[in-house]
Symmetry: C2
């Protein structure tokens, strides 16, 4: 379905240990973000212990999902802007400078779906808007400012 690999699977090993998105962090969430048409998509089901109260997901995990989805999306959008493909050219690594999350409804402990769109794609700065939903209902909206690490 995805013509390109998950962006996190193309990060250099030094950047593959992140709790949110590192493929080499065995304790972590290991999220995977793909380019789908003009948007970025992450699907993730929180662990049962990543709860807040009752059967709701913890707000810090919702923020974490939006954070790593955004850093991955920034790399994807930056590369696409330059006609590059994930897994072909080297993937740049972005870090978060600012994160905003609006919790518009309780997020269930269930499969979650994140969709990212670019608000700004600069030389080193990318701004990503994210909608997080569960079962088609949007429960959180995020906006993140990402900065490309100098290499």
């Amino acid at each position: 379905m995805n013509s390109q690999p998950a962006v996190q699977d193309t990060y250099p090993p030094d950047f593959a240990e992140c709790y949110g998105c590192g493929r080499n962090n065995k304790h972590g969430m290991q999220i995977k973000t793909y380019l789908v048409a003009d948007e970025t998509v992450t699907d993730h089901e929180p662990e049962p212990f990543h709860k807040a109260a009752g059967q709701f997901a913890y707000g810090g995990i919702v923020a974490s999902l939006i954070d790593c989805h955004s850093t991955g999306s920034a790399a994807i959008f930056w590369m696409r802007e330059r006609g590059q493909s994930i897994g072909v050219e080297p993937t740049p690594r972005f870090v978060t400078a600012r994160l905003e999350v609006d919790y518009v409804a309780p997020t269930p402990l269930a499969p979650l779906h994140l969709v990212g769109t670019p608000l700004e794609i600069g030389e080193r700065k990318v701004v990503v808007a994210t909608e997080l939903s569960a079962g088609g209902v949007v429960t959180a909206r995020g906006q993140a400012v990402l900065v490309k690490i100098r290499t």
Copy 2:
């Protein structure tokens, strides 16, 4: 040193399973927030696996710390405003409506210190500003809007 218990130790059992601050979540961070003079204070050292890259803490964990520190701070400031004491009167439970984090420097995987101050204390809405520091250096600033759960 603290004349009142940690606010999280006074949450009802139903609200004590949160990954960030639940005393009954054995997988969680179990943060503890105290009233110290006119501010709220949380001290926490992230787990080694709560990393981003290298020896830096994961931004999602920084956001999580600010989130739970803020919900706890909201309860503390709301009670203090009414002349109530943590552990004496019942603790109200606040949830996060909006979270903003500015990552001003990399946060090390080291003992972290959070200080909260109230920006607004309403009937049901409290706004808390947080500074997170490591070794005296501020690495993140947060602002959260918290809403009191109706009981």
